[in-house]
């Protein structure tokens, strides 16, 4: 605090006040973020040693395990295939969802569109529906005996795709997330479209640009920062998929209990009771997420600095 710049400074006095304000957040962060993470790292380095037949109160003792939990977590084929499934699901979901969100945001921004606030509201509505409920509703709609889609296809003499088995499952899962997330991202992009100065469009229109040209050449480049933000958050959310596959699971036998990496951690910790290996796997997932996030941010910053 040698000589802070005099401008834009609200606090000149002692440095104690801001720390008072930060107190509650610091306590909560320590208790519910920092401590659990440290504990997970500690647990990941431990394991249980069973003496003899594992009977008696002192038969199970916790011992130092070094990195053995990590080596087994990383070489576990289920974690690898779970990550692969989530990557495939994300590759279907994220471009579709953001493409649709951008598309609808641009449509909302077209002059002389009717039912604007109605469509905006209805497309945003699924955001209010919990993932569990959304998956339940879509899960029923995927059942051939219930779905209106299958009904219509049968009337037309065709058979519908099987969305609850095999590769159809990826489409089924991605559709639930697209349904739930498009509206939210649309609003974020639309809001930043509205913040652009209207004179730019006027000038372009005077120059003879069509609405489509304005959208492609002016609007999309100018909302690029919002697209980056929505892409980032969608990517993180995709990696964390848990509630949706858990809900679809009772409806189909082709959803394994380790479909996503998070489901595997849950199964290891609470069904198989191996908290040590679950801790190691979750540390690996956290590290991969952080690595991916910072890599992404670095890439974006580099392009932003080098590009313009």
């Amino acid at each position: 605090m040698a000589s802070p710049p005099p401008v834009r400074r609200a606090a000149r006095r002692g440095p104690i006040a801001p720390f008072g304000f930060l107190g509650p957040a610091a306590v909560l962060f320590t208790l519910f973020f920092a401590l659990p993470i440290c504990y997970a790292v500690y647990l990941s380095l431990r394991s249980v040693k069973v003496k003899g037949l594992g009977l008696g109160s002192h038969a199970r003792t916790e011992v130092w395990a070094g990195l053995s939990n990590y080596t087994s977590a990383l070489s576990d084929p289920e974690l690898l295939s779970g990550s692969g499934r989530v990557l495939l699901y994300g590759a279907l979901l994220v471009p579709t969802m953001l493409g649709a969100a951008l598309f609808f945001a641009l449509l909302l921004d077209v002059p002389r569109v009717r039912f604007r606030s109605f469509s905006r509201l209805v497309i945003f509505l699924p955001y209010a529906v919990p993932g569990i409920v959304a998956s339940t509703l879509w899960g029923f709609l995927y059942l051939p005996t219930v779905s209106p889609g299958y009904f219509l296809l049968t009337q037309a003499g065709m058979s519908g795709p099987d969305l609850l088995h095999g590769n159809g499952l990826y489409l089924a899962m991605a559709n639930i997330a697209v349904w739930g997330g498009t509206g939210f991202n649309m609003i974020v992009i639309y809001t930043s479209l509205r913040a652009l100065p209207a004179e730019v469009y006027e000038a372009a229109r005077l120059d003879g640009c069509s609405e489509l040209q304005i959208a492609l050449r002016i609007k999309i480049p100018m909302v690029a920062p919002s697209l980056v933000l929505t892409f980032f958050f969608s990517m993180i959310a995709t990696l964390q998929v848990f509630a949706e596959p858990m809900t679809i699971k009772p409806l189909t036998n082709s959803m394994s209990s380790t479909w996503s990496p998070l489901m595997k951690v849950y199964r290891d910790a609470f069904i198989q009771g191996n908290i040590y290996s679950a801790a190691a796997t979750s540390v690996v997932i956290a590290a991969a997420t952080l690595l991916l996030s910072f890599g992404f941010l670095k890439l974006v910053n580099k392009r932003a600095n080098g590009g313009s």
């Binding site: 509650p24 504990y39 699924p126 809001t191 229109r205 509630a243 009772p250 998070l262």
Partner: protein, 307 residues
């Protein structure tokens, strides 16, 4: 993310946004306001897609067990009141307990969350101190933590503290919202002018009083947004209560419905209960959503990256 620390001072938060391209008002009535039909129809198509499952649950909840799998999907049935009565009497009315629990977790959690986010965001926006950006970055890294990496050790630590399977075990971890702090900070930067803070300080206001009587009233619209976002996030949360709770009388409605659905896979007679329960569980959120529409300051979100 650090670029946001130098927020553009003149950023417009809510653009007055004239209707884009709208023809200037003509006293003789609008000249020729041709509707842009193609975009309108495409938007309505999107709206229909979003309504498909919601209209389905509305009609499906009116069907009796026999009608559910036999009549046309969107044909209304005759069993709604019966379904409602069955759901209400299921295990002594535990469904309504779940709804009350959700309201408790989300209401109290979001309120505390908005309060903590407010003071933290204000401190990060309006004070210059050593480690300020470090604090902010550490908090933001919290957003990136996969919830399971937190929930498993959180559960084990809660058990050690004797708090597992309690209301507090779900409520306490929901209070700190890195996202809420992020929004509050942006909002404090934009809505609380430094000059006003400076003037209050010259008048002798101490830090806490300055925050409470000067900054807080200015931040209320932003904090309402934080409350709403956090309310929806806690209401919709599944993983944390699913891991923390064993006693189904403490379940929020998401975990409760999940337990019904799992039972339904063994006895399909439960499906009508699941569907009726799903319908009732989305009604409060949709009502909240429609009623408080004008308080959703989503512009905060997109404004956040424009500096």
């Amino acid at each position: 993310m650090s670029s946001t620390t130098t927020a553009a001072p003149g950023r417009t938060l809510r653009p007055s946004a004239p209707a884009p391209g709208g023809t200037p008002g003509n006293p003789m009535g609008p000249p020729r306001r041709r509707t842009a039909w193609t975009p309108t129809l495409l938007l309505l198509l999107g709206a229909v897609y979003c309504l498909v499952p919601l209209v389905w649950v509305l009609t499906a909840a009116t069907k009796s067990r026999e009608e559910l799998f036999s009549t046309f999907t969107y044909a209304p049935g005759s069993g709604f009141w019966n379904n409602l009565a069955e759901l209400s009497s299921y295990r002594g009315g535990v469904y309504w307990q779940w709804m009350a629990n959700s309201a408790l977790y989300a209401g109290v959690g979001a309120l505390l969350s908005a309060a903590v986010s407010g003071v933290t965001g204000y401190a990060l926006a309006k004070y210059r101190f050593r480690g300020r950006s470090a604090v902010f970055n550490v908090l933001l890294a919290g957003v990136l933590m996969p919830p399971i990496t937190l929930a498993v050790p959180q559960y084990l630590l809660m058990s050690k503290a004797g708090l597992a399977d309690s209301y507090l075990s779900v409520l306490l971890p929901s209070i700190l919202s890195p996202y809420g702090i992020y929004l509050s900070r942006i909002y404090a930067e934009a809505a609380v002018p430094d000059e006003v803070v400076e003037a209050a300080r010259v008048d002798g206001a101490k830090d806490w009083r300055l925050f409470r009587s000067v900054a807080l009233p200015m931040m209320v619209p932003g904090l309402v947004t934080v409350f709403l976002f956090q309310f929806v996030a806690i209401w919709n949360n599944f993983l944390l209560p699913y891991i923390m709770l064993g006693d189904d009388h403490k379940f929020p409605v998401t975990v409760g419905l999940y337990s019904l659905l799992q039972q339904g896979s063994n006895e399909p007679a439960m499906y009508t209960l699941v569907i009726t329960g799903a319908l009732l569980s989305v009604l409060p959120l949709i009502a909240l959503f429609l009623g408080l529409q004008r308080y959703w300051r989503v512009d905060l979100l997109s404004g956040a990256v424009k500096s």
